[in-house]
Symmetry: C2
Subunit: 224 residues, 2 copies
């Protein structure tokens, strides 16, 4: 089955000397090769040897960079946490609507991580069939939820988001919806992920707002 190449943006820091650069590149090569293989043949069916072969390095090399195959998934998952942290910084700094920061987070940042359908399916299948992988997910979901709750609190303080439900509950609910919709999309896509997320956001927005501000669905973009 042909799968379009997985290419996940990572942050390669512009640091240090040649040796350090070489290490960073090898790590990145292993990481990308692993994700590519997960997407093609599934997480469970991919071995460490498959990964090192695809990355063109010796088998033992893998363990200089990652303890296990699961650590690759954890690193992938770390992208969600970074996106949330970034959004929280933005929410603290912006004078524009907080609701736009959340929209941007759901529709742009998280979507970029999720848009490779086959990879998302492989990751989902791994979570569905593997208890240890699920445990890692749970920790990450909780970390993301706390960050999102902090963003929502800012929106509540500014009178944009309803106050009758605690921020941490709204965060859990919003997270469950966007996580679920992305998973569902990977398994049974009815449209592009962007469109599905945008529609979900638009449908959800009146429920997130204070009753007074429900009239205007507005603010489609983050004003920068």
């Amino acid at each position: 089955m042909a799968t379009s190449p997985v290419k996940i943006r990572t942050t390669v820091r512009p640091t240090a000397g040649r040796r350090e650069r070489h290490r960073t590149q090898t790590r990145e090569r292993l990481y990308q090769a692993a994700l590519q293989l997960f997407a093609e043949r599934g997480f469970l069916k991919t071995t460490v040897e498959d990964i090192t072969e695809a990355a063109d390095v010796g088998k033992g090399t893998f363990f200089n960079y990652f303890q296990t195959k699961e650590h690759i998934l954890a690193e992938f998952g770390g992208g969600y946490v970074s996106a949330m942290e970034h959004a929280l910084e933005e929410a603290r700094a912006t004078e524009g609507p907080i609701i736009d920061v959340i929209r941007e987070l759901a529709i742009t940042s998280i979507r970029k991580i999720n848009e490779h359908e086959a990879l998302l399916r492989a990751i989902y299948a791994a979570h569905a069939s593997c208890e240890s992988v699920r445990l890692e997910l749970k920790q990450r979901v909780v970390a993301c939820r706390r960050l999102l709750a902090d963003i929502i609190k800012l929106g509540q303080a500014r009178g944009e988001i309803r106050l009758d439900i605690p921020a941490v509950e709204l965060a859990r609910q919003t997270q469950s919806i966007f996580m679920g919709v992305s998973m569902g999309w990977a398994i049974c896509p009815s449209s592009t992920l962007r469109k599905v997320l945008e529609e979900t956001w638009d449908l959800l927005l009146p429920g997130l707002r204070t009753s007074a501000s429900r009239g205007h669905n507005g603010h489609r973009r983050v004003s920068k």
Copy 2:
């Protein structure tokens, strides 16, 4: 890993003679044994022989009732279509709010099918890793979407549901959210499925309503 017994309600018709009854019972035994095994060890790792052994029938017997293992999944999925058909009938007959019929569908009927966490995970893992299983899912999703769109149309005609988005689009969006939230719950439950679905519904409701009717979130129960 201990898994609580899967017991999916099925409709055993009160028909005919002893032979027919025996057939119905054997079929049901195979079906329940299969679901139980899927939940315990996963769909892919369950063989037809495992199923016939657990159901205590000869191996060949399986094929008198189901063509393949995948047909068990299809039958399970058929439950969603039946729930939708039932809800459509109810929507046509009721003089109460259509929105309550949809709520009941999401929170009671679909939940009953989904509430076995391990089985749901096994089924979604199969969908995530198997193209042929996904194709079957797609057909079912489309069938359910059409039925839901018909229910939503009734709600639009009665002025309960917003008119600015076509019923078929609202059906797709609502379906994607509830399917997604159930999938996410099976992998990473933050609460009971009932609670998660109820919260999702409450958050979504203002976005489904006409702007005029958004004030009252009311009607928590189907009035029968």
